[in-house]
């Protein structure tokens, strides 16, 4: 039996250089992946390398989600369809025999992966092109230098990535300050969801963009108000990025002196 499996794996490898072997994930790990991704009935889950279908069937049975599973192995596709039928979720899930690299992922709100590292990394540009906020969960194998946003270890390492919005570039920030409205410039650099940058204020040395965090299209960062040397008030920004505009609310100062202000920034150069 082992020899037969080996042979068929070898044949598959000869046809397709990125074939990952089918190793079922323990049920508790599947549960943890879907819990970490906060899957609900409103989600559309795409399972890439769906194997015996257990991730998608669990997503439908325990979390009420819908979705599509993709695998190259026809036998596993039949097996998954039968399992979905038995679990009473055949209406909500679909299994397709096709190449995951040629699959349209744009419908997904959640992507589940249990592929080899090499395949994950090859898939990375496709994942980064998805709608900001799309969640990707995997276990054991990560996405190379794209660090997970959250990680949990329950039996195995389970990781969650949230597709980041594009924030890279030069932004003009409109700020209502006590001394009158100001326009500052933000130069923001981005590597995946990791963000850093500087703020430029007229007649001031550049300041830091502190504690920057990007989760999907939600952004937060802290600036120090350098125009008011005496107080150097902290300004905690939170907002949402839509294309070349980001806007939200800023809290200025700390404790019971804290005030709230609306803010808006426009990207003028990518």
């Amino acid at each position: 039996m082992a020899a037969v499996l080996c042979l068929s794996a070898l044949q598959a490898r000869a046809q397709w250089p990125y074939e990952a072997p089918f190793v079922p994930s323990p049920q508790v790990v599947v549960d943890e992946m879907l819990r970490l991704a906060e899957v609900t009935k409103d989600d559309f889950v795409m399972d890439l390398g769906s194997g015996d279908g257990r991730i998608l069937i669990t997503a439908a049975v325990k979390f009420g989600a819908r979705g599509i599973g993709v695998d190259l192995d026809e036998t596993l596709i039949y097996q998954s369809e039968a399992a979905a039928q038995n679990a009473g979720v055949a209406e909500r899930v679909q299994f397709l025999r096709q190449d995951l690299f040629k699959t349209d992922l744009s419908k997904a709100s959640v992507i589940t992966l249990y592929l080899l590292q090499k395949m994950n990394v090859r898939l990375r540009p496709h994942l980064l092109a998805l709608r900001p906020g799309t969640r990707i969960v995997a276990h054991d194998f990560d996405l190379g230098d794209w660090k997970p946003d959250f990680k949990t270890t329950v039996r195995k390492n389970v990781m969650l990535w949230i597709v980041p919005a594009n924030i890279h570039g030069h932004w003009r920030l409109n700020l209502p300050l006590p001394g009158g409205a100001q326009t500052w410039e933000l130069d923001i650099r981005q590597k995946y969801q990791e963000v850093d940058g500087v703020v430029r204020v007229a007649q001031q040395p550049p300041g830091g963009l502190w504690q920057a965090q990007l989760r999907g299209e939600r952004v937060s960062f802290t600036l120090v108000d350098s125009t008011d040397r005496e107080n150097e008030a902290m300004m905690y920004f939170e907002g949402v990025i839509k294309g070349n505009v980001m806007e939200g609310e800023m809290r200025r100062g700390v404790g019971n002196k804290q005030t709230r202000h609306k803010w808006r920034a426009e990207r003028f150069k990518p």
Binding site: Q27, D31, R35, T153, V154, W210, Q211, V224, M234
Partner: protein, 157 residues
């Protein structure tokens, strides 16, 4: 506190011994040498937050009816502690269930046991030699919770 590192290290045993679990200690630039901060913030300078942890180290008896091997009996729970970092697990006749994601935040203890291929998420409050809380299991709309309790039978230095 804003002290030089030598003084911070000297102050640590006093703080750990005297502060109530959950007390927050904030420092900037100089932190404790071995105690990892609960949170680090960088705004021009580095700010460190430490939350004084409860003492949980030792041998406990846990009463958690959701665990399949409990069958109405208490099980042995062993916990080791390095400041707020906790490790250990439940000893059973047949083996050992490691505590995953074990964390202590002041007097709030959290850990996950995997039993029968399902996770059981324990959360509880430590008060001296007793921990009480709820354990959650199941997923999505079928999430369920039950109370659990543990009592310490041996402390470890």
């Amino acid at each position: 506190m804003y002290l030089l590192s030598g003084l911070v290290a000297k102050l640590e045993p006093k703080l750990l011994a005297e502060l109530k679990p959950g007390t927050r200690i904030v420092a900037h630039d100089y932190g404790f040498p071995k105690w990892q901060p609960d949170r680090t913030v960088r705004i021009s300078k580095t700010y460190l937050l430490y939350v004084a942890p409860a003492n949980v180290a030792g041998a406990w008896r846990i009463d958690a009816p959701t665990l399949s091997m409990a069958r109405g009996r208490e099980l042995a729970l062993d916990l080791k502690q390095h400041y707020q970092q906790v490790s250990g697990g439940v000893r059973t006749q047949g083996g050992f269930l490691p505590a995953f994601e074990a964390r202590l935040h002041g007097e709030r203890l959290h850990f996950v046991l995997v039993d029968d291929d399902r996770s059981h998420r324990f959360e509880g409050t430590v008060r001296g030699d007793v921990i009480e809380g709820v354990v959650r299991y199941g997923y999505g709309p079928k999430l369920a919770e039950e109370p659990w309790r543990a009592r310490r039978v041996m402390t470890v230095q």
